[in-house]
């Protein structure tokens, strides 16, 4: 046995009431490699300092060294859960710089793919949110459904997760013959599982207790922090870029903007943010059904693809409604075939910055739930 050291401690200098806890980068519920420095008073969170950058993959530097088309795979890898939605603002931004108009069929396929991917994304978001609250089984039910959506992507594009499907001016290839039936079947299946999840998770008493009145984000704070997507809508602001400034062909569809109403708690709590995602799945189903009905059967999806993408000098900021919020690309062209500067305005990056504001004063267990309700993807935050 070692001899016991006599410690000479000046007790007045010891700060005894706060504990600093390091959550992450390896922690089961930081959704990747986020690191949170949490200051705890007992179990109550007094301060949170997010440390990001553990997945900084130098997207913007690489984009400056690549052709306009070559950037698309890297755009995929920003928000790897909803790659189709990432590609959409980028290709539209470049098309805008070029002054291109894409064929009708391309627009419809883009919308269908983007909405399918939105469903897949929200399914992961709800699943991992349930996992953060301790419910493991709904996670697997949602992942089972997501798998069916991935099968469609795989058949159409060849990739399961990262597609490189939307090209500047068109698509990589046309969809396969039974695409429409497959998509309609998926929509049916998604609706069926949504019902199960509502019973199993959303309206579960324990789940409501865990998430209602937790992490309340008032609308003015949300706007000032630049929150977007379900974060903003969960706070009761009916702002959706698909309605506010319809891009692509979103003005042709009839759908609603679900907002948080504080059904079981306060407006803008975690439950509201989650239910917004839940209802957006339904709205996406509606859009998909309408798009399938209107989609022209014939048409060359590659007819408008330019041989060489060399936009004139200029700059454009284009934003789309990503499942996580407003994804914008700010592209500066200096007339060469490589972009001079590409800045991605990632929704998760901005949404995460509000975390310290909404998690102070809640318990440590709530912090995990609040983080889950923001629905972050580190690839997009760190880029």
């Amino acid at each position: 046995m070692t001899t016991r050291k006599i410690l000479d401690i000046d007790f007045s200098r010891i700060d005894t009431d706060r504990m600093r806890l390091n959550v992450g980068p390896q922690h089961p519920s930081t959704h990747g490699v986020l690191r949170l420095e949490v200051e705890l008073d007992g179990e109550v969170v007094t301060n949170v300092i997010p440390h990001i950058g553990y997945l900084h993959r130098c997207f913007e530097k690489i984009a400056e060294n690549m052709n306009y088309q070559q950037v698309i795979p890297y755009v995929d890898r920003m928000d790897y859960i909803s790659s189709m939605n990432n590609e959409l603002p980028y290709v539209i931004a470049v098309e805008k710089l070029l002054g291109l108009k894409v064929p009708e069929k391309v627009e419809y396929i883009r919308v269908i793919m983007a909405e399918l991917n939105r469903i897949a994304n929200h399914q992961i978001a709800i699943a991992t949110f349930g996992l953060d609250a301790g419910a493991f089984t709904p996670f697997l039910y949602l992942f089972r459904d997501r798998e069916y959506i991935l099968w469609i992507f795989e058949k159409a594009t060849g990739g399961r997760l990262l597609f490189n499907y939307f090209w500047v001016g068109g698509l990589a290839n046309d969809v396969y013959p039974t695409f429409k039936e497959d998509v309609l079947n998926i929509v049916k299946q998604v609706r069926k599982t949504n019902k199960d999840i509502e019973e199993l998770l959303i309206y579960n008493k324990i789940f409501i207790d865990r998430t209602a009145n937790i992490g309340v984000l008032p609308a003015d704070v949300a706007i000032n922090y630049g929150c977007s997507g379900p974060m903003l809508r969960g706070s009761g602001v009916p702002f959706d870029l698909r309605k506010a400034e319809p891009y692509s062909i979103y003005d042709r569809f009839d759908f609603e903007i679900p907002v948080g109403k504080g059904e079981v708690g306060t407006v803008g709590d975690c439950w509201d943010r989650n239910i917004v995602r839940m209802r957006e799945i339904e709205q996406s189903c509606r859009i998909i059904e309408q798009a399938i009905a209107q989609m022209p059967d014939t048409g060359d999806v590659q007819s408008a693809i330019p041989k060489k993408v060399r936009p004139p000098k200029g700059e454009v900021y284009f934003r789309c409604e990503n499942p996580k919020g407003e994804l914008g690309f700010y592209i500066i062209s200096d007339g060469k075939d490589k972009p001079y500067r590409v800045k991605g305005r990632a929704p998760s990056f901005v949404n995460l910055s509000v975390l310290p504001e909404i998690s102070r004063g809640y318990l440590f267990a709530d912090l995990i739930v609040i983080l889950g309700s923001i629905d972050i993807v580190l690839g997009e935050i760190d880029r």
Binding site: P25, Q26, Y54, I62, Y80, R144
Partner: protein, 180 residues
């Protein structure tokens, strides 16, 4: 490598009893692998679907553990950045022996699409920790990850515990040349 193989050459391989014991110990380690619950990037999403019902990683007897102390192998699923690299090294050192590492995806193998201009990306996780199995792909399909897992299991099955050092080296050479 059942009992019969050992009967041919009982003394060099440690005898029937030791050989069988070795088989049992290896069997335990290869059939019960707990992985460290740890995701980095895109591949982690495919890894999540692998845990889900369609691919069901648990068929191999694999259970997620949140703490490195109880994990048997670590799956590096995604891009390792320089900021993260030191943490991965710490995690690896925290794991209890015997431990294994599977590097999943191009990024973890070699830097993947970020190899050229990625000033903040570590070009291959094998620069900091030893890797037992590489799974290529960007991201690899879940089937590929399962194949990687089976490769790891067969590697564990052939590990030598009691045999002499020369045998061990020979064995490793064989594994390297992929003949086993």
């Amino acid at each position: 490598m059942g009992l019969l193989d050992r009967l041919d050459n009982p003394y060099e391989t440690g005898g029937i009893i030791l050989g069988t014991l070795e088989d049992i110990l290896n069997w335990g380690r290869s059939k019960s692998d707990w992985y460290l619950h740890f995701g980095l990037a895109c591949c982690a999403i495919e890894f999540m679907s692998m845990n889900a019902s369609h691919f069901d990683f648990m068929r191999f007897g694999i259970i997620p553990r949140a703490t490195p102390r109880q994990a048997d192998f670590i799956m590096i699923t995604g891009t390792v950045t320089l900021k993260m690299a030191e943490r991965i090294k710490v995690l690896w050192e925290q794991m209890a022996e015997p431990k294994y590492c599977i590097s999943v995806g191009s990024c973890a193998n070699s830097g993947g699409p970020y190899w050229q201009y990625g000033y903040h990306v570590l070009k291959g996780v094998d620069r900091i920790i030893p890797v037992h199995v590489y799974v290529p792909g960007c991201p690899p399909r879940p089937e590929a990850m399962e194949e990687g897992m089976m490769k790891l299991q067969s590697l564990i099955d052939r590990q030598a515990i009691f045999r002499k050092r020369e045998k061990l080296a020979e064995n490793e050479n064989l594994i390297k040349s992929n003949k086993m």
